[in-house]
Assembly symmetry: C2
Homo-oligomer: 305 residues x 2
């Protein structure tokens, strides 16, 4: 049996997370156009998608809340490795694509899954994708994530950081998507975890999302930009598209399992570029960025940079 009371508690908390994130981001970028799209899922449940666009900081961003439930289809049974017959899932996810190439892209997601065999788990993560890697900025980002993890017994930066490195890698390019962050899944699935504590960690993490982004974004919002920077931003956004469509398990599962396409693909940038075999000029900032991204999975301890 599912604990519907706890499920409802998580759903309400995640709804509040989305509202708070939207409010904080709109206060940071008061020129962004905000739209809201509430939707229903044919097989049960629905969601609420908020889109920010054409702001002074954010060119295109999305924040999606969903609370869905239904039968465990064969595809889902395989994905979840379960013989349970009913599931419920709720989550908040967000991706922000900034206007200025010197401002990084950010992504976060927290989710909760429960099955009718009584199992449940939390998952989520947050990662930063600068178009130009600045080690000092990556260090501050990871410092913030470590501080949040350190406040919670259920969280371990030392485990979640390399997990993100493995997850947010683009094997066909031999590149990391960005400077990583933290990623976690199946927290609580094998027992031994207090669910209130797991929820508290997810809420602590997601409630700091907007503030974390503001700190990394604000100093660069007015940075000087030339045509070369814009083109490079397009190429790095192209890589973001490649990661999401080829490798990201959540995106792929959503698309092939009949999820709501527009809410899933809100993560894509407003535009992406592809040049054949583009290599930046040796010694350029772009070449330096590629060197960082090509250091190999789990290659960089950002806290020590």
């Amino acid at each position: 049996m599912m604990d519907l009371e706890f499920l409802s508690q998580v759903q309400q908390a995640y709804r509040a997370v989305q509202n708070d994130q939207v409010a904080a981001l709109m206060s940071f970028d008061d020129e962004a156009l905000l739209t809201r799209d509430e939707w229903e899922r044919a097989d049960g449940g629905g969601g609420d998608t908020r889109i920010l666009k054409e702001g002074k900081v954010i060119e295109k961003g999305g924040l999606n809340f969903s609370a869905v439930q239904g039968a465990v289809t064969p595809a889902l049974a395989q994905q979840l490795d379960t013989s349970a017959t009913r599931f419920a899932a709720t989550g908040v996810s967000s991706v922000l694509h900034p206007c200025n190439p010197h401002v990084p892209i950010i992504h976060m997601n927290v989710r909760y899954f429960t099955l009718d065999d009584g199992t449940w788990w939390f998952g989520g993560g947050i990662d930063l994708t600068p178009h130009y890697v600045l080690p000092a900025e990556a260090r501050l980002f990871h410092r913030d994530l470590k501080a949040i993890c350190d406040r919670h017994a259920v969280a371990d930066y030392g485990t979640f950081k390399p997990w993100a490195d493995r997850y947010f890698s683009i094997p066909h390019r031999g590149e990391s998507r960005g400077v990583g962050g933290i990623f976690f899944d199946h927290i609580g699935r094998d027992g031994g975890v207090d669910r209130e504590e797991a929820l508290a960690f997810c809420l602590d993490l997601s409630s700091h999302y907007a503030a974390i982004y503001k700190e990394r974004a604000a100093p660069f919002v007015q940075s000087f930009v030339d045509a070369d920077d814009m083109h490079w931003q397009g190429l790095r956004r192209g890589r973001y598209v490649e990661f999401n469509l080829v490798h990201d398990r959540g995106t792929r599962f959503g698309l092939v399992s009949g999820g709501r396409t527009e809410s899933i693909l809100m993560s894509l940038p407003p535009r992406g570029h592809w040049d054949y075999d583009h290599e930046p000029a040796p010694g350029s900032r772009q070449a330096e960025t590629l060197e960082w991204l090509r250091k190999g999975v789990e290659g960089v301890d950002w806290l020590s940079q």
Copy 2:
């Protein structure tokens, strides 16, 4: 045992196909910049990638020849449904992304596969992706493909046309990629086919690629274009990216099996756009195009339009 003499004959014929296609396209678009990239595959064989860009007709196009061989890896054994241990494959593929949104995108591919258990087969196809669907143009394109098929006992337009419709569909969008064309695979694998005849069909098809494109492209190269057309082209190119990265079996297999990423992804457009939940104005040419593309798999008999 593989018939290495026939393999070599196919490789030479496909090399000639690529050279002829490049020459014909450069004569059609004499302002395009042509680059050549010969490459080797670590596990055996290699290829020759030609890129056309910044022409008066073609903004970015690629023509790739490859001739590879090696051990049948577990992934390949599963993909090919075989217990053979060695394979060889050779093919030519091409995608052309035009500058003008009123000119369609075109794609073609011919390939030959042989295994050390003595089996062999041909595959390939050609399909047209207009940014604006014009039924009369789709009819002429399909008429040309039917005429080629009708000249060869091994080819059947009535089978290959719906095969293309099924293959070049984007299920997560409920759309066809374009107006289809023909697609075929495993020709000869079950016996009963003369391999010289199968090769002759593939060469007839691929030798008409440049001429077929010229006929569909030339009348629209100078068409008037406004900002709205350019934006729409970006959105349709975004769909092309989605099809290739999410659904195209050749692209996905290449990327996850360690193929040469740049040669595989030469099929991507120079740029792609993504707007959240974009719907064109009712009654617009863009809305009309979407109506054609949403008629469902195998929905349109273009020859009768």
